[in-house]
Symmetry: C2
Subunit: 373 residues, 2 copies
């Protein structure tokens, strides 16, 4: 029995949306799912109990960050990442590829991997498919991601093609060296915004028969329409019985549009990051609660929300906390934003179940874009 | 029926320690009590539910800070401080005196009060007994403190004497102008480390028959022995049936020694502040969990502690969080330190009940000073 299996439960009649169950060694996840990001072995500002309370069933942690600090060996000695961070539900780790390729000017790429300098202390390190697998096995996540080359946007065809080639070669190596039987490895499809390169990458990566597939190299600065067209393009090239994970995507509209195009899994720092900057997502659109307009606004962030923050605190109080630099402010906005997105995913799943996704999406957009905050 | 009453339940046979109940409009507090500090309408890093869970029955908030931001009118419009910050248990507000007198170079003192400049934006403000009462009435705390002059340490006799005089005059004004019937005003005794000035201040302030008395101007830099001798001196001058509040004190030894000298209430930023610097109090003394020595230490902060932090996290993980600048690290150390102090207070109360305070204190000191972390 493979460690991670996916059961496709239902396909939407009118869109590409799918309903599924992702079984992992640490429990089952209902898809489509949004995974909050716990970069450094913590979802910023939150306890694991709070992450569970807002409705998260699986989180993502970052291989690059944990490799540098506290070090994969510390996490292994602690008994693995779940135990280290006191989170008993599923964890997916990224490969570190996205991060090391993002270190512009601090890296050197070869066919074996990437030599890079730590953003923490400037020390030199090397990471390739073997190293990434070793680190992720030490972390002990439920799902490890293959080490890929994520090319920046915009990039020329040649560069993207070279990335596709390397990504395919590295995917093979990842499968060869990976050993843990309680951990799955998902492949990653690259190819930028070139339809034929996307198709080629999809063919090559799916030929390796991974238990799931990441769609990488999107949400890196390209227009949303371009991202959607790549997703449209990819649908027929991805096996139906495997989960599809659109990496780095987390705005409400991209979640809805991704789901319509067959995506089962998402992750993004967006909800937690904008929360810490004082911006929250509400039924009626984004609200910058730091603004002076809310100094005497004694309504909850979102009157239609039932999260801990909205049940107990006002905009005026949260604004005060943020202006005063108080940590509780960051906690309250983070709780709200994650709850908001995870409730949206729940609503999406119910709508797929009821063959009602398009109507649900139209209703959501009508309010979200109304500006009637 | 006055809004706040104190019931002396028991006096220790061997020391000056007392067991009591402080009744307030928002509930009853068992004394001796330690009050966590919520300077800006939040106990830093914590939700009110967490503050209650670590065992706090009453918290302190700061008049000076809340007057400047968000402003007393905002808090009043919110329905008062309890509602504003979602804390339904008792609140004591300080008078703002300590803060405005601490703004060296930014203030000018007259017999009416203090002209000072905001530490936030340099704007000029005036606060005296009338203004302090008005702000505290707007905040709606259960216990307001009279506006006093807190003289720095060391200070000459004349300066301290002038402070005692002003404090007495201002105490009268506070009682004259105060109106809220659901809020008590406690007087504050000054007098520095001069026994006769302390006696004089105690006589003058207690003659006004406040429902409780703060002991101010201590823990401002003087040796602990000097503080203890002032407390010894004061005991016979303070009415037995009124609570005694030693302001700004919160180290374990000072709590124990204060209780032995008849103190019923304490507050201090110490446990929460050192927590955010990575220092925790344990059964076996202080532990600087940021230190490299704990990078692979998979024990809880304090193996004898049952707090949320110690039940679920290791020193290695907490160190990682602190090194990585993660907010959860600050939350976990804060929870632990407050739990530790509030458990100590519980233990002290049980020991007084059992006429066992001296043995309990000896046992506590033996471990706490052993260095066997």
């Amino acid at each position: 029995m493979p460690p991670v299996t996916f059961t496709l439960q239902k396909k939407d009649r009118n869109t590409g949306a799918r309903l599924g169950l992702l079984q992992t060694p640490h429990g089952t996840v209902k898809t489509p799912v949004f995974m909050p990001v716990g970069t450094q072995a913590t979802v910023k500002t939150m306890t694991p109990e709070e992450v569970a309370e807002v409705g998260a069933e699986i989180i993502l942690a970052n291989t690059y960050h944990l490799y540098l600090r506290p070090g994969a060996d510390v996490v292994r000695e602690a008994g693995g990442l779940h135990k280290f961070m006191h989170w008993e539900r599923p964890i997916l780790t990224d490969s570190g590829g996205f991060q090391v390729f993002s270190l512009a000017g601090l890296r050197e790429i070869s066919d074996d991997g990437v030599t890079f300098r730590s953003h923490l202390d400037g020390s030199t390190h090397f990471m390739g498919p073997k190293e990434s697998m070793a680190v992720q096995e030490a972390l002990g996540s439920d799902i490890a991601m293959a080490f890929d080359e994520c090319v920046a946007y915009p990039a020329g065809r040649e560069e993207v093609e070279a990335g596709v080639k390397r990504t395919s070669r590295w995917a093979e190596i990842c499968l060869e060296v990976h050993q843990r039987e309680d951990q799955a490895v998902f492949g990653i499809i690259q190819g930028g915004v070139f339809p034929d390169l996307r198709r080629r990458s999809a063919r090559e990566i799916t030929a390796l028969d991974f238990p799931g597939y990441g769609i990488g190299g999107l949400s890196v600065g390209e227009p949303k329409e371009l991202m959607y067209s790549v997703l449209d393009e990819l649908q027929e090239y991805l096996p139906e019985n495997k989960p599809r994970y659109l990496m780095g995507v987390g705005s409400p509209d991209c979640l809805i549009e991704g789901v319509k195009r067959g995506v089962d899994m998402f992750d993004c720092v967006l909800p937690t990051r904008i929360a810490r900057n004082g911006t929250v997502m509400t039924t009626y659109g984004k609200l910058v609660v730091r603004n002076a307009a809310y100094a005497r606004d004694f309504r909850p962030l979102d009157p239609e929300c039932a999260c801990y923050t909205c049940r107990n605190y006002t905009r005026a109080y949260i604004r005060h906390l943020l202006k005063a630099g108080e940590i509780l402010g960051l906690r309250l906005t983070t709780i709200h934003n994650l709850y908001f997105l995870l409730k949206l995913m729940e609503r999406i799943r119910r709508a797929i179940e009821a063959n009602d996704l398009e109507a649900m999406a139209a209703e959501f957009y009508a309010k979200y874009n109304s500006g009637k905050i």
